[in-house]
Structures are given as C-alpha cells and as structure tokens.
C-alpha cells in the first residue's frame, strides 16, 4: 500500500490549479442516516499564509461529520474525483475486512473516477473518525464520525462539539518523507547547542553538564527528538482552523459541554487543556471509561477522548493544544458569543527526554528516574526477548529491561504541576467484553534507526516481513516493547485492543495504544474478525518507513 501512498504523494507534487474554490474553513456539515455519499476532491486552502491545495471530502477539511446509529446497516458511497488512487479507512470500527479501506490489504484502493461502496453493520457507538490510508491523510483527507448508542441514554450534556486536532504542511507529504530519509533531524531546530551546554554548566557545573549529555551522545541519540516533524513546517489545526482563525464553540455559564477530541495529527501528539476548566474524561477511543478529572491530557494520532467540561463563567476559554515537541500550538475558543478571544497560555518550554526514555526500568534501578516525579515509581519488566533481527542495521537501540508502569504522562508532561491523564487512569466501565485469560502471547518490539529514518517491528520492515497469524476466536496477549526513544501510537485494525495493567489485568479497551520510549505494554485481543488486517504505528511517516505488520485471522 505504501507505493500507493507514494503515487498519491507524487501527484501532490504537481497540483493542478483547477481546484474548486471552497472556503478553507467551514463548520463541517453533518451527514446522517444509513446512506451517506462522499466525494474526494481537491480544494484550495490557506493555512500558512500561502495558498495551497488540500484533499477534501465533500469540499471541506476536515470532511463532514458522519453520524451513524449503532445497529444500523449503513451504505457509504465514496467517489474519487482525484487523478490518483485514494481510500478511506474507518478508524476503530469493527467491520468486515474488505470494508476497512486499507489499499493493498482490504482492497485495491479507489481508482480515479471510481465509486467504492462501503457496506457494514454498525456494531459499536462512540467517537471515531475516518481518514485516508495513504500519504493523502497529511493533505487533509480525514473527518469525524459519531455513532449514537442503540439503547443507552445519551450522556447528559447541554452541548456536544467534536474537536479534531491535525497538522498541515504546504510541503507535499512525499517531500516530508524524503527530507526525513535524507536528514532525520530536518525539522528539529531544538537540538542541544553550545549555549545550552554553557547554561547547564552554569547550573550543574562542568561535570554535571557533561554527564547530562554523556549517555545521549555516546549512544548517538538526540534527547530532543520528540517529534519527527515540527512547526518548522506544520501549521496545527483545530477543526480545520489554525489559531489565527480560531474555531469557536458557544458555551454559557453552567452548561455541561461534551468535547469529543480526535487526534488526527499525522506526526503530532497534542497536549490539550482548557485553562480554568476541569476536564472529566468519560470515554477513550469511543468506549466509556470510569470518569476521571484532569487538567490536561495527551492525545496521539488515532486516539479519541470524550471529555465533559462544566462552564464556570460567562467568559471565553481557550481550548489549548500544544504539540508534544513544544514547537507550536493551536487553540479554539469556548465562549458565550462567537466574537470573543480567550487568553492563550504560553507554550511550555521544550524538554529533553528523561533517562527512563532510553534506559527503561534500569534507569529507575540506577536512581536515574526523574527527580521529584509525582507519577509513581518505575516498574521493571522481566528481561525483554529481542528478536534476532534486532541485531542488524535497522535497529539503533534495544532496551533490555523496559519499564511497565502506565502512570507516566510522558516526556514534557512530567512534574509540570498539572493533573495530567495517564493510561493508569483509564478504566473501562464494567468488565472486559471477553473475560477469558489470554491463551498465548505474541511479543513484538518497536524498533528504529533514527539516523536513517528506518522504522520497523523487530527490525523488519513491512516489505521484508511475514504477517502475524491469529487463530479464529483465540484470546491472545500482544506484548509491545518500545526499543526506540519515540512514542508510537500503535493501531490494530478490525479488533479491539484491551490494554492490561502492569500486573496483567484487563484495564481499558482501546483501538490505538501509545507506547512510550523504553516502555513495555501488553494488551489482549480477541481474534473474532476473519481476514487480513493492518497493524501499524499511526505516525504516518513511521508507517510508510516500515513500522507496519499485516495480521491474518484464519
């Protein structure tokens, strides 16, 4: 499928100028019922101050909000008006494999001029989204999807807004990919400098400053490599609006507002808060969780979080989403009128990875954990079993003793004084849908070679790999060990990922699970979806570079 991504991207290098003129920012229209018609085409947009061309669904970026009802049999016709193959994948939906929209696995993609008809029965409810399963995702081909529950009463809320966070670049996605291949730090302008060293030497003494760097420099790892692509090229968008054109949702004092956050960044984790309001997280990846109150949460590409905020005052509140690498932010506004601006907090200073992000559990044992960390001790897993293919050229780091604790909000959010959501806070309301204990384990390591921008499972890229075979209806445990220094949002198609607590109990049902650097996570899967599926990192350029496996349930 990646080749098609390329074809897509290549075409984007030479945009035709005939794109239809549609306003860049529109409140997405809502399409509901059991029959939905979508058209994929080009629109002219201007997010950066420069006109550019995006790929839109029904003329808008993001595409229309699709509202479905649990239990309905739906028909979604997607017409491709582009001059290249495209696709739509329904992210997190449980459906037949040939309706999943992954070119090369589910089907051959939607050819130019062709209409593909998706037909499936909606088996779930909650907040989801859809996007291209090609590099065109970077060019705007994504939109929100809300599924109403069949029986349960809807959650009491006075207002209900979808907040879709994404990243935009005027560069063609293939160009971004090639830039990263040729120079992996291409977009990182926060690399440690002589000035930083001098300032550390002032604070820590010369030997302190040297030892702070020794570990990273010896290993040739960059402690500021949090995000491959930064605001150096990205403009961050909230519901298709950059900060300058702030998206506004009406919200009055005393109202309970449901905000459905969707992480639609292609290479961006967002750290989200609404200064002045407590956020009660009520659903993760569309699934209800036991409510938890937080000031802030991190949302990765692919994830969704529903939160409830009770508006304290008749004033404007900023919905503030800063990129994990702290190079930029986007904000929207909740206010009683649509002409009010909100106070925007400053972007947090950028931070280095901590030693636990390279050393995992061993850093904790050696007393290298972040001092004064208010989020739990580092727990260490048994020695990880590396694949023999992790000793080759594609793997620049292996973690022998990964950390297993889930109560770490992640780099940049540690000890910031705010109550930040961690995976340890997320608990599915009620028991596991499948109460069986896993019958077997599959251990996979997330690997990379940062210098060469090669990403893989077990050091083996997609096109060198063999698929993972699941036996129908087996309950299995997938163990992921992150042998890299980046956070990877891992998304298994077709089946739920039931995240386990560090002590091996079912904790929360998700479809996209972020694995932090040098961390081990385990999740349970019930192989109840026959056919072929994708399992990959939802950072688009990692997926393209090979961090992708095919799964066969047969």
């Amino acid at each position: 499928m990646q080749g098609l991504l390329l074809a897509t991207a290549l075409a984007t290098l030479g945009w035709p100028a005939h794109a239809f003129a549609v306003p860049a920012v529109t409140t997405p229209t809502v399409l509901s019922g059991t029959e939905v018609d979508l058209e994929i085409g080009r629109v002219t947009v201007n997010y950066s101050g420069k006109a550019s061309v995006a790929t839109a669904v029904n003329g808008s970026v993001p595409g229309p909000l699709i509202r479905l009802r649990e239990g309905d049999a739906v028909t979604i016709r997607v017409k491709n008006n582009l001059d290249e193959m495209t696709s739509i994948h329904w992210h997190g939906l449980i459906l037949p494999t040939d309706m999943d929209g992954v070119p090369g696995i589910s089907f051959g993609g939607i050819a130019p001029g062709e209409t593909f008809t998706y037909r499936f029965v909606v088996k779930q409810s909650g907040t989801f989204w859809y996007h291209a399963h090609t590099l065109a995702e970077q060019t705007g081909l994504y939109g929100p999807m809300i599924i109403e529950p069949k029986s349960e009463p809807p959650l009491a809320a006075d207002r209900d807004y979808t907040i879709m966070l994404s990243d935009w670049t005027d560069e063609a996605p293939l160009q971004v990919y090639l830039n990263l291949k040729k120079m992996s730090g291409y977009y990182n302008f926060a690399q440690p400098t002589v000035g930083d060293f001098a300032s550390d030497a002032g604070k820590l003494g010369l030997s302190g400053a040297l030892s702070k760097r020794a570990m990273w420099n010896k290993a040739r790892m960059n402690p500021t490599d949090l995000s491959d692509v930064s605001a150096a090229t990205y403009t961050y968008l909230l519901n298709g609006a950059p900060s300058a054109r702030r998206w506004t949702g009406i919200a009055r004092k005393g109202e309970r507002v449901r905000l459905r956050f969707i992480g639609a960044g292609t290479a961006t984790y967002f750290d989200v808060r609404v200064p002045g309001l407590m956020l009660t997280v009520v659903a993760a990846d569309g699934q209800p969780v036991e409510p938890v109150d937080v000031d802030e949460f991190r949302i990765g590409p692919g994830e969704t979080y529903d939160v409830i905020a009770t508006i304290a005052d008749d004033r404007a509140y900023a919905i503030f989403a800063q990129s994990m690498d702290r190079t930029g932010f986007v904000h929207g506004v909740l206010a009683p009128r649509d002409d009010m601006s909100a106070d925007i907090p400053p972007v947090d200073p950028g931070s280095w990875l901590d030693p636990i992000d390279m050393m995992g559990g061993m850093a904790g044992m050696a007393g290298m954990g972040p001092a004064g960390q208010d989020h739990g001790m580092v727990e260490t897993a048994p020695k990880a079993r590396h694949a023999r293919t992790e000793y080759g050229a594609n793997t620049d780091m292996r973690v022998d003793f990964p950390r297993t604790n889930l109560d770490d909000p992640g780099v940049g959010l540690r000890r910031n004084g705010r109550r930040t959501l961690t995976y340890a806070d997320l608990r599915t309301a009620g028991p596991a849908a499948d109460p069986r204990e896993p019958q077997r384990e599959i251990e996979l390591h997330l690997t990379g070679n940062m210098e060469r921008f090669v990403w893989a499972f077990d050091g083996v890229k997609l096109n060198d790999s063999k698929p993972l075979h699941f036996t129908p209806n087996e309950r299995l445990r997938i163990i992921l060990v992150n042998d890299t220094m980046m956070t990877h949002p891992m998304h298994l198609h077709g089946m739920w990922s039931d995240l386990e607590s560090p002590d091996g109990r079912f904790q929360v049902r998700k479809h996209t699970i972020s694995v932090q650097p040098a961390q081990r996570v385990a999740f349970r899967v019930t192989a109840d979806a026959m056919g072929r599926w994708a399992f990959h990192c939802h950072l688009l350029y990692h997926m393209a570079a090979g961090m992708f496996r095919e799964v066969v349930v047969a």
């Binding site: 993609g109 010896k218 694949a387 000793y391 072929r532």
Partner: protein, 312 residues
C-alpha cells in the same frame, strides 16, 4: 623506512576492517551510561572491558550488564526470538496497491564544500561532495574532492570515487568500489572502507586503496558538527592521506603524506542551503613536503575559505 610505512598503512587499513567486521563497534556503544550518570560507581564497567563473551551467553546478570550497554549491533543470544515465529507460513497480501514506501530509493546530492580560497600564494577553488542513491541500506555512492590553487598543480588528492555503500550496522556502512585520480600521474584504485557515525556524533570516513600497480594508500576523514545555534554550525574537520610508495609525477611521497585541519562555520539559511567561511591549515610530510619545496610550494599552507554547502 618503507617497511615501517607499509606497517603503518596496514595497521590503518586493518583498523578499518576490524571496525567494520568485529564486535569493536558494539563495545564502543556498550558503556552507554557512565558511572556518574548512573550514580553507582561499583556497578559501572570500564569502557574498555571486552563484552563479547558475556553477550553470547545472554545470561549475564543485570548489574554487570549495565542498562543499555549493548544497545545496538552485536550478536543475538541463543534465546533470541524468531521474527517469523508468528506467521505460521502465511505470506503478506498481494493485492494491488501493496507497494513499497519502505523500499524507496532515495537520491541525495550533497555539495558539502564548494569554496573559494585565498592564501599567501594566491587564490583557488576547492570542492568536496557526494551523491547517494538507493534504498535504506544499499546505495550507490559517488564521492569527489579536489583543490586547485593558482600557480599550482591540481592537488594530488583530487579524485572521483564510486562505491557500493552497504549499511552494515546501525551507525556504520561499508564501502567497496573504485577511485580515479584526477590530474597528472593519475592512478586507478580499488577502494574499500567504512563510513559512519562514531559515538559522540563524530562523522568518520576511513578508506583503504590498492592502486593499479599494486601500491597502497589510505585516507581518513573525520568531522564534527558543533551547534552554536540550530542554524549556526561550526565544523572542525580532519583529513589525512598516506601512500605506500612515492608518485613523483603527482608530487606525493611514500608514508604519511599530509594532514589537513579545517574549521568552517556555516549558517543554514534553510536546511539545504548554507553559506560558510572557514580556515584550513595543511601540512605535508616527508617526501611529499620535499616535492612541494622542489616545486617552490610551501609544505605548510594556511587558507581562508568561503563557500556554499547545498544539498537536495
């Protein structure tokens, strides 16, 4: 004299080869945490301590095998997983569209140095660049470098090289190919060596050559990027060449021929476009120095340079 030169040369080439082939690399990486950073002196190992054996049995106790010590490369232990163990004989889909962004050939042209120089004798130009094309771990690599000063012959190190570059290890690649000298007395050479990133981010190139008449040569280049800011970058650089026997027509003596130390400061207007200024000190040794004196040139040169670094 000749014997000691040859020994020196062999030692250098030998170093190149062991570095490529052996566990030397993983040893370098292993002590990724020094004692201070780990805060536990008694557990830290001497950085020079050989690790190969401990690694093989895969059972060395954690306290001895400090965190992240063998972080890359090395040999898998007997208990290493089979990456295909979960496939049960299945193969990936063959539907149309299932193609190969992870196998993409990436073509990169880097004009690392394209500069005007000035010294006591006059002016000149100098270049150093490389072109690579291929997928992640196997590339065609073309390298060229050269120097021409007014009133002097083309610098004897001026050459064009073509290699197969293989990403042998996470931070190191092997190169195998040919070199063609440019200018009078040019030789053709079979060439092999390594290129890579040493711990602490040193860029290193080490190449050994066998000439068309059996003569040997070696070239070492190393550089380091000092980030004054994320755009203003100071690059100390070193180059040294050695030959097994003299080539009077190129003004080259046997043995260690020259040492060049450069300091260039570039400003990345964009990542791909960076003008720079710099200073280069070069010293010729032994017979090469004699040849230079005979030609009325100074064995020691100081050059101011200004140029442009671009890539795409």
């Amino acid at each position: 004299m000749t014997t000691s030169r040859a020994t020196w040369l062999l030692a250098l080439t030998g170093l190149a080869m062991t570095t490529v082939a052996g566990p030397a690399l993983s040893q370098q990486v292993k002590p990724a945490v020094n004692a201070e950073a780990a805060g536990s002196n008694d557990q830290a190992m001497s950085p020079d301590m050989p690790m190969g054996d401990q690694q093989k049995d895969g059972s060395s106790a954690p306290p001895m095998n400090m965190p992240g010590m063998d972080m890359s490369g090395g040999k898998p232990g007997a208990d290493a997983r089979d990456p295909d163990a979960y496939s049960d004989g299945y193969r990936n889909s063959t539907l149309p569209g299932y193609e190969m962004a992870d196998k993409i050939s990436v073509a990169k042209v880097l004009v690392d140095e394209l500069e005007f120089l000035t010294n006591k004798q006059g002016q000149g130009i100098s270049w150093s660049g490389r072109i690579t094309n291929g997928p992640d771990n196997d590339k065609l690599l073309l390298r060229s470098q050269g120097l021409k000063q007014s009133g002097e012959r083309l610098d004897p190190e001026s050459s064009v090289e073509a290699f197969w570059w293989h990403g042998q290890r996470p931070f190191w690649g092997t190169i195998l190919g040919v070199r063609q000298d440019i200018g009078p007395g040019a030789h053709r050479w079979i060439a092999g060596g390594i290129e890579g990133l040493a711990p602490y981010w040193f860029d290193v190139q080490l190449t050994g050559y066998v000439g068309d008449d059996g003569r040997l040569a070696a070239r070492l280049k190393a550089s380091y990027d000092v980030l004054l800011t994320n755009r203003l970058i100071l690059v100390p650089q070193l180059e040294s060449n050695a030959y097994s026997k003299a080539a009077p027509e190129r003004g080259l003596g046997g043995g260690l021929s020259n040492l060049e130390l450069g300091l260039r400061m570039r400003y990345e207007i964009r990542r791909k476009v960076a003008p720079y200024v710099g200073f280069v000190w070069e010293r010729s040794f032994g017979e090469t120095a004699d040849f230079r004196r005979l030609a009325g040139e100074n064995p020691t040169e100081r050059r101011f340079v200004a140029g442009l670094r671009i890539w795409w």
